[in-house]
Amino acid sequence: MAEVRCPMCGKANPEELDVCQYCQARLKPIWESAPLESASDNDLPEWLRSLRSEPEAEKGKEEALPDWLSGLRDVSDVEAPLEADQPPGTADEFPQDQPDVSSQWFGSTFAPDEEPAEAGLGGQLEGDLSEESISWLSRIQETDARSGEPAPGSDEAGEEASQLSPPSFENEIPEWLKPDALAEQPPEQTDSAPQAQTPEWGASEEQALPEWLKDEMLQEPAEQHASPSQETPSPEWFDEDISPVQQLADETEAKQQAAQRELPDWMTDEEGHLPEWLQSGIFVSPLEQPPPPVSSSGGEPLPTPAEPEESELPAADAKLPFKMEEGEPSPLEWLASLETESEGSKSAKDLQIPPEIPEDELSWLSELETAYSDLLPEVDIASEGAGGLSEGFESEGLSPPPVEGLPSWLSETEPEGEEAPALADEEESLQPAELPSWLQAMRPLGVPDEPSGDAGAAETEQVEGAGPLAGLRGVLPAEPDVSQGTKPSAFPIRLQVTAAQEEQANLLRRLIEAEAQPRPLPKAPVLPAQFVLRLVMAVLLILSVLIGVVSGLPEFARPAPSSEILAVRQMIEHLAPQSPVLFAVDYEPSYSGEMDAVSGAVLGHLLRRNVYPVMISTVPTGPIQAERLLNMAGKAAGQSLAPTEQYANLGYLAGGAAALAAFAETPRAYFALDIQGGQLWNRPQLQNVGSVGEFAMVVVAVENPDRARFWVEQLSPRLKGTPLVMIVSAQAEPLIRPYYDAAPAQVQGLVSGLPGATAYEAATVQNGAASLYWTPFNIGLLVAVLLMFLGGVMNLIAGRIVRQKQRQETKSK
């Protein structure tokens, strides 16, 4: 059993099914039942073909229409928005999805699937010709008789038009149009309109004439009645069609532009123009023509300003078979003028019929002319063809639009004949830009020179082969163009360098190769020269110091005490006996050589003044360092200091700067006992001490500049007039001296380094450790300076010698 593959889901279905059993999609095209599958259908875009696949509900409705009318649905659907501009009367009477009669008439001629070249129309002409085929002509007579009735825009006209249904239409055929009447007519008329030659479209129109077509036909005389001043009124849409050629050309262009603006983008091509088949449809459809102006009172169509003159209209009533009163508009005049226009644009005989249309398939045209020659005014078609609208087109240089597969006399002119050559000339005048070579070299790799314009065309021409979109054309490709980039061109690997660059590259390569070659390491000497130098320096320093310590010679004079040293001495001299003095020992054991001498000088003076020193330290080794210092100072003073009675050692104060601040405010809260475990604050020397400001003096021995700064900054605001004396090492003096030189001074006394201690001992008439160290210190200082100077000079000379040797070795290599 044959199978039919569903175009939507791609699954196989039995041949007899009309609808896919899987996806309910139609298997057999709706238009397959059309009398003939025109070759132009293949030329239609896929989307337009799909538009024909309308639901089944509409199919039955359209089956009642002749094929040439139903084919116009596509065109009318496209032009549906334009019908909103129709007059109220016609808009109410006509369905929105149906064009008026003129559009049907013209549209059927331009419908691509109703090509006369398909020979289907000719075949139908032979079979469908009957007595009713000319019933529409009788309806024209009836409407002529009703010319005195209201205009179609009125309600009465609408009601009357609605009564003209096809079944009753046959009864209202005038007698002269009935077969009997036709038989009684003069022989020339009956001969000229034989029934056998009645066109098929006329018969089919009678059988399934839609309402809108009837209403339009009834509306024609009403409109003529609305303008009785004109002797030969005609439908306005037709009047505009037969207006002067220039006006027609302008209007045609305007209509095309308006239609293109209202149409969606997908209906236009890349340049924004409509396809030719659509342009022709729009051009010829009377719907595209501006509707007649409607009066504000009753919606009655007003005469259009471009209404043709009487002379421009053919004398339609000259040969009409029925009698008409003088001054009445002829109901067939529009038809006569229409055919005149059509034939005037170009006669079928005179036209250049495309070669693909056989000559015998166009025989119906001649038959059509013969059949209606008696109904139309006697117009010399040949002469009209020469002097009619086509002549106007030709005179204006316009040419009808090329409609493929249609007789040229039916196609409309399109004023593009002059624009195309103009565009071609303009394109030829534009010379392509020439990019410089350097700019072309900057072009990124992998990017084609020009965007392929065929890509879009290929997409639109591409037919989907699988999936639910199978069979559709113009589907967006699943693979983007980005992934279809071109392969970057290959470039040569060899660098293009100059001779100088190549020489430098070779030099660099030789250097790298030389670095990679192993070189024997020089043998390390048993005693390096630097080690020997350091050893000599150390020995010289030690010997010089030992000589000074042992011999005490030469004797150096003590430095004179400075003002800060004298201030310290003066303050200590004013201390009362047993007055509490807070003495902070905040230096490391490594600095004991210097700081013990400086601190011992001041502490010895305090002990001689019989004050009560209270030792404290923020360094973990500070408490025992204080014990050491007290022992040294006691020995120097010839005293044996007893703890608790002669001094107090508070111990270690943990917490750094924060602890100093807290201790300065509440010292009793931090130390209830001394380091020996004895009660502290009940001693008579300390009973009145509640804060650090209640000590008689605060002496801080510190070698670290930061720690010295902590003491000064944390204690100064809380001293309340208590003098602060700083005993610092020589390295910390530059940072502590600004506190002494400040105004007001935050430090009231300063003793720094071994020179300061020696000066203080000299000022206080002591002979302590500082005086003992003074001579070795000076000898050692002198030796150190000599070693620095000589060592520097020697290294400078040795370095130059070594560098010269290296240069010579490099040059020799």
Partner: protein, 195 residues
């Protein structure tokens, strides 16, 4: 951060409650610092003990450190406390000579570095530094009658003006840095103790 703000405000505003609160926070800080010192000693012993146990390079020095630590603790606990004669003996004949020797080695090293500096890097700043150091040392020499051409006055001018100016600049920079560091700690953007 709140405690830091309270202590900071307490320096500028004198309020009874605020002062007490600030003192309380400072007491906590002192206690925590003391505990941190104990924890540090314990960690030091742990690290050196691990080195001794695993036999890493320098285990002998670690063993010496641990021995000294234990001996000192035993002396302080069982032989009269931190200021006893035994403790003072250890300090005078062990700790002070060792640390003073290190500083003496430093003096020789500085002299040698000065001589090598001229050989290796001879720039204008090195020359200024070397010349200033030599001038200050020479003028500090107290040889009788050595003060010729007012060299000591020049030394005092250099020490009082140039050195003091540089020192004050350093102090200002240190003060600004301390303020910035304090604020960073107060607002929580810096946690020096990994809190």
């Amino acid at each position: 951060m709140l405690s830091g703000l309270v202590v900071l405000v307490g320096y500028f505003v004198t309020l009874p409650g605020l002062s007490d609160l600030r003192g309380l926070f400072l007491d906590w800080a002192v206690i925590l610092t003391a505990v941190a010192a104990i924890v540090g000693v314990a960690n030091l012993a742990k690290v050196h003990w691990r080195k001794v146990r695993t036999g890493q390079p320098g285990a002998v020095f670690s063993l010496t450190t641990l021995t000294s630590l234990v001996l000192t603790i035993l002396v302080v606990i069982f032989l009269g406390g931190a200021t006893s004669a035994w403790s003072l003996w250890l300090f005078n004949y062990a700790l002070v000579p060792v640390e003073a020797s290190l500083l003496a080695v430093l003096s020789v090293t500085l002299i040698y570095a000065f001589a090598r500096m001229i050989n290796r890097r001879l720039t204008i700043f090195n020359l200024i530094f070397a010349g200033t150091a030599l001038f200050i040392l020479i003028t500090a020499f107290a040889w009788s009658g050595f003060d010729v051409f007012g060299l000591r006055d020049i030394r005092s001018w250099v020490m009082q003006v140039w050195a003091a100016a540089g020192a004050r600049g350093i102090l200002l920079g240190v003060a600004l840095g301390a303020i910035a560091t304090g604020l960073r700690v107060l607002i929580g953007s810096d946690r020096p103790y990994s809190g």
